[in-house]
Amino acid sequence: MEERSNSPAARLYRSMYLIRRVEEEIVRLYPTDKIKSPVHLSIGQEAVAAAVCDHLDKTDVVFGTYRGHALYLAKGGDVPRMMAELYGKVDGCARGKAGSMHLVDPAVGMMGTSAVVATGISNAVGAALALKMQRSKAIVVCFFGEGATDEGAWHESMNFASLRKLPILFICENNFFAIYSHVKDRMAGPGLRARSRAYGIDAELIEDHEPMLLHERAGAAVAAVRSGAGPRFLECMTYRWRDHVGPGEDRIHQYRPDDELDAKIEGDNLKIVGDLLPGDLRKSIEDAEEKRVADAIAFAEASTFPEDQEIYDHVFSG
């Protein structure tokens, strides 16, 4: 049992299931206006953060984006404190100052997220520089959407990371869209692998609906980076089921064909991984995670709002 429940598929399922369920609860809670802040959901995209983070140690650090619930959870972030943060309560991971868009938990290497596209990428590269200067064994993993690669910051960051052979793995979650704008309307040329290689960075693309392959390739990439081989780039194809922002669906905007979305929902990665597990194990994982989710919400509900004067705290450190 020990071993079975610690298989890659089991670990992946546990992580993905938690993410899915936390976000479904957010969908359920949002209309109550208890979460007074934009939310960017990863439902449908869980596999990427879960598969990559499964290969990381607590001392490895990750940087993400406003679409950061999945990463926070996959990296082992505290679930109750995340929910409290969404509620804007004092027990949130940033005492309500961050909200959904700026989740952080340095204790497990979740370094935080930015709501300005592509801005965390160079920070991640800087963290990798620091780790290298500190002769650390830890590595950095930097998550971003394909839209972020439009930005000059991505170019500058890739170049510098390669130039200095830094211990960093770049993970592009290519979900085809930046809000409602399709990647083909924003990106010229043969694609991101060619661009990465033009910086001297090895690159690989993993198609959607191959969660176990993704898990394996992510493992290889993490190992390469950890061995000192310099940066690696993984383009992970994925798909967002919900609207860019908010809890709802977005079929009404007609920017993507309904049947494209339907096919993606049909081929649910969570189901693919779950189906690899024996029924009892799957059930026990689900039960355990359900309890975590319920506890987290109860924790958030019970927490209080910050006092007025807290608004002045933390402008400066120390």
């Binding site: 868009m101 700026h102 709501a115 439009d150 809000i179 709802g248 905007h253 007025d308 608004i311």
Partner: protein, 331 residues
Amino acid sequence: MARDSRVFVMGQGVDDARGMFGTTLGLHREFGAERSFDVPLAEDAMTGVGIGAALMGMRPIQVHQRMDFVLLAMNQLVNMAAKMSYMFAGAHKVPMVVRAIIGRSWGQGAQHSQAFHSYFMHIPGLRVVAPTTPHDAKGCLIQAIRDDNPVIMIEHRMLHNVKGVVPEESYEIPYGKARVLSPGKDITIVGISHMALECVRAKHLLEAAGIDAEVIDPVSLAPLDISTIAASVERTGRLLVVDTGWLSCGASSEILSEVFERIGERRHFVAKRLGYLPTPCPTTKILENLYYPSPQSIAQATYRLVRGAEAPAWQPGKVDSAEVAEFRGPF
């Protein structure tokens, strides 16, 4: 756009189903994909592209969903757009409009709620307008499009849903002409952008305390109509500037300084600035509510300025800022 084929609109999402909070909705269908188009996430180069097109005689309108992102374009706006006319001694002009939207709604947090109009007011060669009423928004935009110079148009997200009378025909709102939204004799309150609206609400609250405030909307921030404001302060002897932004080196310090330089020697007056608290914007609503000036906090500050620090405490009544109170997520 119909009367001038040189005008086009560019920006992330201008042609999508949400049409930049509805402001660009359907333009691409009416004028074609060439004249209203989506762009990659590349604020720096896209601003440069706008400038380059303007140099060649086009009249681009660039739209940013959040003014926070304009920080990525500062180099092009400040080092290029603002300077080309001067650096090349008139050989070039840059007829470009940059619409920058202040993102306040709810829980937008530190990076989606900022206002940087003072950054542009700092720079010779840029015009900055921040209309409040729908009427002025239309006139300012038309004026900006027809101008041969780069114009930064500040739009507050909370104003997009505010209704008002807007004439059908085309008209321009001249630069450097402040609007007295509501006359009064006890104090001059200058409210910038959305704050002009909040100041009018504060004025109504203040009536209960027997205070008659004059509310002025500068409309255009660069050039600034300091005459209208100074003349008002000369009458009232008191000035409160309420900005939708931080105070330090902000628009409010500029307005206060100019009024003081203009009339300080001959007319004693008192003044105060109000704006965002000196912190980044917190996400949780309970703190966010404190962060922004409200009709109550404006009324309170006014009361103290008019009655003096020793006056008995006064509690303004309640008034809802509908556009703020009625906002429901996600964005």
